[in-house]
């Protein structure tokens, strides 16, 4: 429970994030390394945009879709564990399950006629795809709160809202955050598909590379997306640790 134990992994995650930002900003290094790996490629670096620009686009796409997933998923998970939403619990569980099993590529294809090309069909597809871990972990986290703690809280005169905010959420937050982390990491990988409908991001060099048969493009998109996923994962793990109340630490 000492400060250093909490601080060390968080500092490591932040250092990783800074290192990643630096690597992404060094277009020259990417060019040199890719030229080494693919000596016969005429143009080893994707010409459409710099890696930094693509990463920022990717982050925007992931940020919007995961943000929506969080804003809808957590309240939805809370609602179905309340008496008022209990009847809808099965329906919601089936719906988010379906959202994850339905292929995101198919969602993209179906959304284009409605929303057109660009960012928004991709946001819808990723939003639906990321719901499952957020909702199911929110429900699981809240269900795991000891009944006795809730009974005691009621018996001492806490209202429903206060019990949720000062007892249930703090006790469930690490499980909820684990769901958020899974959702975001999946989202970063899946978002590369969104380039197919013109949403941009790190999927652009991957899909462009497949079209012109340039594996150097594919590799740079994939490596950057993978690094981004690792960085996001460790940052969210740190957030999870910071949010976990001390009394619950192992």
């Amino acid at each position: 429970m000492s400060e250093p134990r909490r601080a060390a992994p968080i500092l490591a995650a932040l250092a990783g994030a800074v290192l990643f930002a630096w690597v992404v900003s060094q277009q020259e290094i990417w060019a040199r390394v890719l030229a080494e790996v693919f000596p016969r490629a005429a143009r080893p670096v994707y010409p459409g945009a710099t890696i930094a620009e693509l990463t920022i686009e990717h982050l925007r796409l992931v940020g919007i879709s995961s943000g929506l997933t969080l804003m809808v998923g957590v309240p939805l998970g809370v609602w179905v564990t309340r008496p008022s939403g209990a009847d809808f619990r099965e329906v919601v569980a089936t719906a988010v399950d379906f959202g994850q099993t339905f292929p995101p590529v198919a969602v993209l294809a179906l959304m284009v006629p409605i929303l057109g090309f660009g960012l928004w069909p991709a946001v819808v597809a990723l939003f639906l795809y990321g719901m499952f871990p957020v909702v199911s972990n929110t429900v699981a986290g809240l269900e795991a709160v000891p009944r006795a703690a809730i009974d005691a809280a009621r018996g001492m005169g806490m209202g429903r809202a206060r019990i949720l905010l000062s007892v249930e959420i703090p006790l469930a937050v690490s499980v909820i955050m684990a769901g958020v982390r899974t959702s975001v990491v999946i989202n970063i990988g899946t978002a590369t598909v969104a380039a197919a409908v013109g949403a941009g991001g790190l999927g652009d060099p991957i899909i462009g590379g497949i079209n012109v048969q340039n594996m150097a493009y594919v590799l740079q998109g994939a490596v950057a997306a993978a690094m981004l996923a690792v960085v996001a994962d460790s940052l969210l793990a740190s957030a999870e640790r910071l949010l976990t109340p001390r009394g619950l630490e192992a």
Binding site: A148, I150, A153, M156, M158, L171, P245, R246, G247
Partner: protein
């Protein structure tokens, strides 16, 4: 004072509590007891409106609870449950401060109160205030649970099998502590248990329930001596004389007139023993270290050989110990006397089997004076033949030919 007036709780086809009425005077402990499913917990939870009664009234100090907002009502009623329900993410001190914070107390007011309460329930405040619930044993957690319920000094305390989930030794200690706290604070307490011995020990009045109805509501002595039905009689158990000992404390019958020395066995001789059975050995602080058995000394043994060194935690009782426990300790040690010490082991006196026998005899005399047939208040055709029951329960020998089946 709290009064239940014809309180009923129905769930669809099931009637959990059926027309229950009783009153608990201020400062008294009312124990609700009965077999599983008898409605005792439901009755308790209707008092602070965790369950809403279907009909009837519950009045606390003249106010109908239905006229008070449930949250407001509960903040002024202490609540302790078997599973304790401490908040695992909060420290012991934060847990205890829950209700004062809900009531909007300033930190400067609740902080000292929290430390005071931890001391009241027998936990060292410096050591425990900053701990988290997972760092506590079951007994310690329940002490914190009691401290949390007492935090805002509510006049009424509801306790739902508070000592049901701890080991027997810890339970015995928690019961003694609860009895002590109750003597100091004088709360009105409604206490649910299924343990008859616990009820007899702690209750001023016992409400015995069965199938949602109140079978009998009276003092423990009355339930033991004048059961209103065969059910009450059977539920309270056959070992009634022994049960009665569960109500009396060592402090009531002990004598402080004992011999002791701080000089070890050197200070003891046959002459110095006089009439006593034991000559107690203590250290300079008065802590019990052992004794010399005067009977053995009489047989010509030297004081060193007749001396026994003991750990007071195992070989002595405390003033709060029940006579039942003291008797059990005597049987275990094989003596007719047992030393009484305070919580730090300092010798206070001793309690003898003859003193316990006198207590039992007082109760028996009371029973023996009852007219024939009223001894049990039970129709003779039920169960055990009456003469056998009379022998079993009272140790009273019926005169030949007088009892017919």
């Amino acid at each position: 004072m709290i009064a239940l007036e014809d309180v009923t709780k129905r769930y669809d086809s099931l009637t959990a509590v059926d027309g229950v009425s009783f009153e608990v005077p201020s400062g008294e402990v009312c124990v609700l007891i009965g077999p599983s499913g008898c409605g005792k917990t439901t009755t308790l939870r209707m008092i602070n409106r965790l369950i809403e009664p279907t009909s009837g009234r519950i009045v606390i100090d003249g106010r109908d609870v239905m006229g008070i907002r449930p949250e407001e009502l509960r903040r002024h009623i202490g609540y302790v449950i078997q599973s304790v329900g401490l908040f695992p993410h909060l420290t012991v001190a934060e847990n205890v401060a829950t209700v004062p914070k809900l009531l909007g107390w300033e930190r400067s007011r609740y902080s000292p109160r929290v430390l005071e309460l931890l001391e009241i329930v027998g936990l060292d405040a410096d050591e425990y205030a900053k701990k988290y619930p997972r760092q506590l044993s079951g007994g310690q957690a329940q002490r914190v649970g009691v401290a949390r319920a007492l935090a805002a000094d509510p006049p009424l305390l509801l306790m739902d099998e508070p000592f049901g989930a701890v080991d027997p030794l810890t339970r015995e200690r928690l019961q003694a502590e609860f009895a002590r706290i109750q003597r100091e604070l004088g709360k009105t307490v409604v206490f649910v248990t299924h343990d008859v011995d616990e009820a007899i020990r702690l209750a001023d009045r016992i409400a015995l329930m069965r199938d949602g109805r109140l079978e009998q509501y009276d003092t423990p002595e009355a339930l033991l001596d004048h059961p209103a039905s065969k059910f009450v009689h059977d539920f309270m158990g056959a070992d009634r004389a022994l049960k009665r000992l569960g109500r009396a404390r060592v402090a009531d019958v002990m004598t402080s007139d004992v011999l002791s020395t701080t000089d070890g066995t050197g200070g003891v001789s046959r002459e110095s023993c006089k009439e006593a059975r034991f000559f107690y050995l203590t250290d300079d602080e008065g802590t019990l270290e052992g004794w010399v058995d005067c009977h053995v000394l009489d047989a010509g043994t030297s004081p060193e050989e007749a001396g026994t060194l003991v750990d007071w935690r195992e070989a002595a009782v405390q003033p709060d110990t029940t006579l039942k426990e003291a008797l059990s300790r005597m049987l275990g040690l094989g003596f007719r006397n047992v030393a009484v010490v305070d919580e730090r082991g300092r010798l206070l006196g001793e309690v003898s089997l003859s003193a316990i026998e006198r207590t039992m005899a007082e109760g028996d005399a009371h029973i023996a004076n009852l007219p024939e047939g009223e001894i049990l208040g039970v129709p003779p055709e039920e169960g055990v033949p009456p003469e056998a029951r009379a022998q079993l329960d009272e140790g009273v020998q019926p005169e030949e030919g007088e009892v017919t089946t």
